[in-house]
Symmetry: C2
């Protein structure tokens, strides 16, 4: 079924992890089936939106019977590619990189974090939370010998472009980008997922401001 994943909108893709999380919760609570109505109400979506989203990937469930939770969970995991055991490296092991090394379980999402690279002599050569940290100068050689699927980019913004170019040269095609820099991808050869802190905070600020305006009756001033 997963082979049919074409032309699925980005908004649908972004809802899949939420479905997965909710299904995990329901499964943990011992439930076997769930209707699109119940799933929708738990996720703040309409039943028809749920059905539409899942129909993008082929048919799941049967009208009136709801979804088998275990089956749907398996299918979603396959659609997302969680069974591929992709290999990741961490590029830059400063505060943000360390937060990921200590707190984020890549394995839970089908990735192995193989190692990290940094220039800081205090951590190069050490192993932090089971992840070996190597010298930045050795990254090129490492990449030429190992097939790495994803670079988790946590370097300072001023060297983001240089590091992306190095990763590109050595065949890393996907970047989980924590640099807050827009990576130049005009050639469209990279897959880039941005964890952009400013963009997120500015969106929050907009919604705070919108509520503030409404609270002050400005919504009637137009």
């Amino acid at each position: 079924m997963a082979e049919a994943c074409r032309n699925v909108s980005n908004n649908v893709i972004r809802r899949l992890p939420r479905y997965l999380r909710k299904l995990d919760e329901l499964q943990a609570s011992g439930l076997k089936r769930v209707s699109s109505a119940d799933l929708g109400s738990m996720l703040g979506l309409t039943p028809s939106q749920i059905r539409q989203d899942l129909n993008s990937f082929g048919g799941f469930g049967q009208q009136g019977y709801g979804y088998n939770i275990a089956d749907l969970r398996t299918e979603l995991a396959e659609i997302l590619g969680m069974n591929h055991n992709y290999k990741a490296i961490l590029v830059g092991v400063g505060n943000m990189g360390l937060a990921l090394v200590h707190n984020f379980s890549f394995k839970d999402y089908g990735f192995t974090l193989e190692c990290g690279f940094d220039i800081n002599p205090e951590i190069v050569g050490k192993t932090i939370n089971h992840i070996p940290i190597y010298a930045d100068v050795d990254m090129a050689e490492y990449l030429s010998k190992n097939d790495i699927n994803v670079a988790v980019l946590c370097v300072p913004r001023r060297i983001a472009d240089v590091k992306v170019q190095e990763l590109r040269t050595y065949g890393v095609k996907a970047i989980w980008n924590y640099t807050n820099v827009d990576i130049d991808n005009r050639e469209n050869d990279l897959i880039i997922e941005n964890m952009n802190f400013p963009d997120s905070l500015l969106a929050l600020e907009y919604y705070i401001t919108e509520r503030y305006r409404k609270g002050h009756g400005e919504e009637s001033s137009t």
Copy 2:
């Protein structure tokens, strides 16, 4: 003009920070005006999408003359609410919280990070990068005496719900959520912005897997 911000779609809101960043870049490079065509090509959007987005907030620019960069930047900052100097606190100063304290400049986005709260005796009472860290048990009293607009929630997931309830009780209405937990907001009283690491990585995984399938010719198997 900003008062007219009603019923603007979430997708449009999420593009505004990107516009802002690009305008800052262009301004820094000395440019005075920019056409929707040029802005679009730099951002990977169509000129009509740019015009539509900006028209959601009233009229900017004049057909054929492009946008005055400084004016548009000022308007966008006002729409986002960057001039309100909102007050933020950090709830949980572990690895993630520390990464924000050290690396993220709240001021650049119109926020003041007032202080942090944690239970760790090694940091409580200290000042880290100009941010005082107070004891978690003192948060309630602090909130009852100070008008705080945003809580940056970086606590472990198991106590996320408890902390949200405490923040709610003391009138904090907006949460920048780093816990990877879906905050219960059925009452719709909170404004929540999620920095959800798993969701982001799973979306990246989907796109990697999609490219992998295409590379293996599976796109023709449907």
